[in-house]
């Protein structure tokens, strides 16, 4: 088997080398967010460089500025990026505004099948209009919002006994959102090893997408829907349903009663900092960070464990992750497509996962050893089975900022009720869709 793998990598390299002989060596620039998986991709791409003769350059932008920076680049027809690993919500704008190259003909010609990738990732990262076989990206990095916790604290007898006494239940990974809150409240302002710790780090950031990604992690398990009928934009009764109101009130209670002080504008970085500094017992964040967290010398290894976003009325996780697209303004489309072909290969995908990237390829995800390959691998599969994403419309930025405002106003700034926040959100979104000519 090992010989077979080596042989197939050899054949692949030979094929890439042959292709590169036909096209001249190019300097390609790949744009993405600056985070752990991006570093892994730099390492992985060295194989492509040696096989193809092309040189890879990288433009990584910190998450808070990623959308602004990259969408400005696309909207101005910039040539900075030949390849872009763009957020899932950009696919509508990327396709309709002509920023991304449509990949159907290329996939057909090269024998790349979307059936080889996890359906949820193809739907979310590649297709526009949603669910149709029109592909503008190859699933590059599967991701969802999950949880991690201080396993060493959860296993301590004194803490377990205190929890049992306080709640009458055993302390363990929560099986529901309400149990999650109960555990977080138990740890809130608790003295552990002479230090005051807090319940959990959740997303409350106002400027980009933070609080929306956090709040939807409560909304989806409660059964939140964007529309009553998909594609009809009939939001009344869906966005502001009784379940949605309850979920939003729940998120506010979580923020008020179980997070560290001053946690008013926090996202990925703050969540990681709070956990690594031993400030919180649990934290939400994207699966993409989990390999780094597990490897952390102070709070990783035996001290950490992971769980999927707990259900309430149903299973539900907030989708993250991205697809890789060829930017239509690039002068090096041929070489960029070569990269995508190389990246889609199962062997490369297997290596991608082994280096810390989240492959969406079925050969990796359905492999016999996948679930045991990392302590969070099984949770990742579970999460990806039940992911939901935000609107992916071309006007997604307006839709997102409206939700950021309404949710932050209610959860953090105590303005109005959950019902009012969601009613106003429908008004905002209706106005956007009217402007778009969709209502």
């Amino acid at each position: 088997m090992k010989h077979l793998k080596i042989a197939s990598v050899g054949v692949l390299s030979l094929a890439a080398a042959t292709m590169s002989a036909a096209t001249k060596a190019e300097d390609l620039t790949l744009c993405w967010a600056a985070w752990d998986p991006a570093n892994a991709l730099v390492e992985l791409s060295k194989d492509f460089e040696s096989a193809s003769g092309h040189t890879m350059n990288f433009e990584f932008v910190p998450w808070p500025n990623f959308a602004d920076r990259m969408l400005n680049e696309l909207n101005s027809g910039g040539k900075l990026c030949d390849l872009l690993i763009g957020d899932s919500q950009w696919i509508g704008g990327g396709a309709e505004n002509g920023h991304y190259v449509k990949l159907n003909d290329f996939f057909d010609a090269e024998g790349i099948s979307m059936d080889d990738f996890a359906p949820a990732t193809v739907y979310a990262y590649s297709t526009w209009p949603k669910g149709t076989p029109n592909y503008y990206a190859l699933p590059a990095m599967g991701d969802a919002n999950g949880w991690f916790y201080r396993k060493d604290w959860f296993e301590r007898d004194d803490i377990k006994a205190a929890y049992k006494e306080a709640t009458g239940q055993e302390l363990g990974e929560p099986k529901s959102q309400k149990e999650l809150l109960q555990i977080a409240q138990f740890f809130q302002e608790r003295e552990i090893d002479g230090k005051t710790v807090y319940g959990a780090a959740i997303f409350t950031e106002r400027g980009s997408e933070g609080i929306t990604m956090g709040a939807t992690s409560a909304l989806y398990p409660w059964g939140f829907k964007y529309e009553n009928t998909p594609g009809e934009y009939d939001m009344e009764g869906a966005v502001n349903s009784a379940e949605a109101v309850e979920a939003l009130e729940f998120y506010k209670e979580f923020y008020k009663t179980a997070t560290p002080p001053g946690y008013t504008n926090s996202y990925m970085g703050e969540s990681l900092d709070a956990f690594k500094s031993g400030q919180v017992a649990m934290a939400m964040n994207w699966f993409a960070f989990f390999p780094g967290l597990y490897a952390d010398p102070d709070t990783g290894g035996d001290k950490i464990d992971f769980f999927v976003n707990p259900p309430q009325n149903q299973e539900g996780s907030t989708l993250g992750g991205q697809g890789i697209s060829v930017v239509s303004y690039s002068d090096k489309k041929e070489a960029s497509l070569e990269y995508i072909k190389w990246f889609s290969d199962p062997e490369v995908q297997a290596k991608w996962w082994s280096m810390g990237g989240y492959s969406a390829h079925n050969s990796v995800l359905q492999g016999d050893t996948f679930k045991d390959s990392a302590p969070f691998a099984a949770d990742f599969l579970l999460a990806m089975d039940n992911v939901q994403d935000f609107w992916q419309e071309p006007a997604y930025a307006e839709l997102l900022l409206a939700m950021q405002k309404r949710v932050h106003d209610f959860v953090v700034a105590d303005q109005g009720t959950a019902q009012e926040a969601l009613d106003k959100l429908i008004e905002d979104w209706t106005e956007v869709f009217e402007d778009e000519g969709k209502l």
């Binding site: 909207n75 505004n97 106002r206 001053g262 504008n265 900022l401 106003d409 209610f410 105590d414 303005q415």
Partner: protein
């Protein structure tokens, strides 16, 4: 023939150019000199302004260049003026503007008055006081974020030291009630020295003989202050208010660093709102209309103010 530098330079004018200029009137030569400046002004100020006015009547979105652009009359203006969120951002701007000007004028004038007195280390203190305004607003915003941190921040620690309150019990940047004051404090800390310097210039411009005459007339110190110092410093003070007022009306960087407009939208100034509409939501037509409204507001208020300033100067 004179040997002045100007003459020497004039003699160096190439003959071909000299011949061409020779026939030009003074007026034409004046236009020749100011022409490039006027062209630059038209290109970078007037044309964009006119273009913005044009865009403000459309539904244009800069990120949707393929979409048909429609003229929608005054609809953008109607939406803005009827939008309660816009009025909240104007309210936040007004709160910030009023209180920063109030504190900066009060403290700035008091500091200038103290510094104007001759004492040992006068220059050193002046240098120390003006340090904050030399820093970048982004840097100031960042380190005040740490100072305001409820668990490790120095600000909360000092309040705790004096009041005994638990430092984690209040959040300067996270509380709806405190966040508007948190940004006022930082702006006041940073820009009071500017007001102080202008007031100091005003105080030092008052001739000593006026005070000496007042002393001879047996005017009390208080009377001297209100009848000599204040009226003579007033034009300087009003100039400082004008500069700070215009700056703070368009305040952006400091507040974005400190609160990002939050919590919720409590500290979302008009400029932050405008940036979100223009470059995050990409509602170019709508944001153009908003920019025009803000421009007219600042321009109108500044014009009235300058007239008042001129009247004070004439007195």
């Amino acid at each position: 023939m004179s040997d002045s530098t100007a003459d020497k330079l004039a003699q160096k004018t190439p003959r071909r150019v000299a011949r061409k200029i020779k026939g030009l009137s003074d007026r034409a030569i004046a236009w020749l000199f100011v022409g490039p400046t006027i062209f630059l002004l038209l290109a970078v100020n007037i044309f964009p302004l006119l273009w913005t006015i044009n865009l403000s009547f459309t539904n244009f979105k800069a990120n949707r260049i393929n979409r048909e652009v429609k003229y929608i009359g005054l609809r953008n203006y109607e939406r803005i003026l009827g939008d309660s969120d816009i009025w909240l951002s104007m309210q936040a701007t007004a709160h910030f503007l009023f209180w920063t000007l109030f504190f900066q004028v009060l403290i700035g004038f008091a500091l200038a008055w103290l510094i104007n007195r001759k004492f040992r280390g006068n220059d050193l203190w002046t240098t120390i006081i003006v340090l904050p305004m030399m820093l970048s607003p982004a840097v100031v915003g960042n380190f005040w974020t740490f100072l305001y941190q409820p668990q490790i921040g120095l600000f909360n620690y000092i309040i705790t030291f004096f009041t005994g309150a638990d430092p984690s019990s209040f959040e300067m940047l996270g509380s709806v009630d405190l966040a508007p004051w948190a940004i006022v404090i930082v702006d006041t800390w940073m820009w009071t020295p500017f007001v102080m310097l202008i007031c100091l210039a005003g105080l030092r411009s008052i001739p000593d003989y006026i005070y000496e005459a007042a002393e001879i007339d047996r005017a009390s110190k208080l009377r001297q202050f209100f009848t000599i110092t204040i009226p003579m410093v007033l034009p300087f003070l009003m100039l400082a208010i004008l500069f700070r007022g215009i700056e703070n009306f368009k305040m952006f960087d400091l507040v974005v660093q400190l609160t990002g407009g939050g919590p919720g939208s409590i500290t979302e100034m008009a400029s932050i709102n405008l940036k979100r509409e223009a470059f995050e939501k990409w509602r170019t037509g709508y944001s153009s209309a908003f920019a025009i409204i803000l421009f007219v507001t600042v321009f109108g208020l500044a014009s009235i103010y300058v007239k008042a300033l001129n009247k004070v100067k004439e007195r």
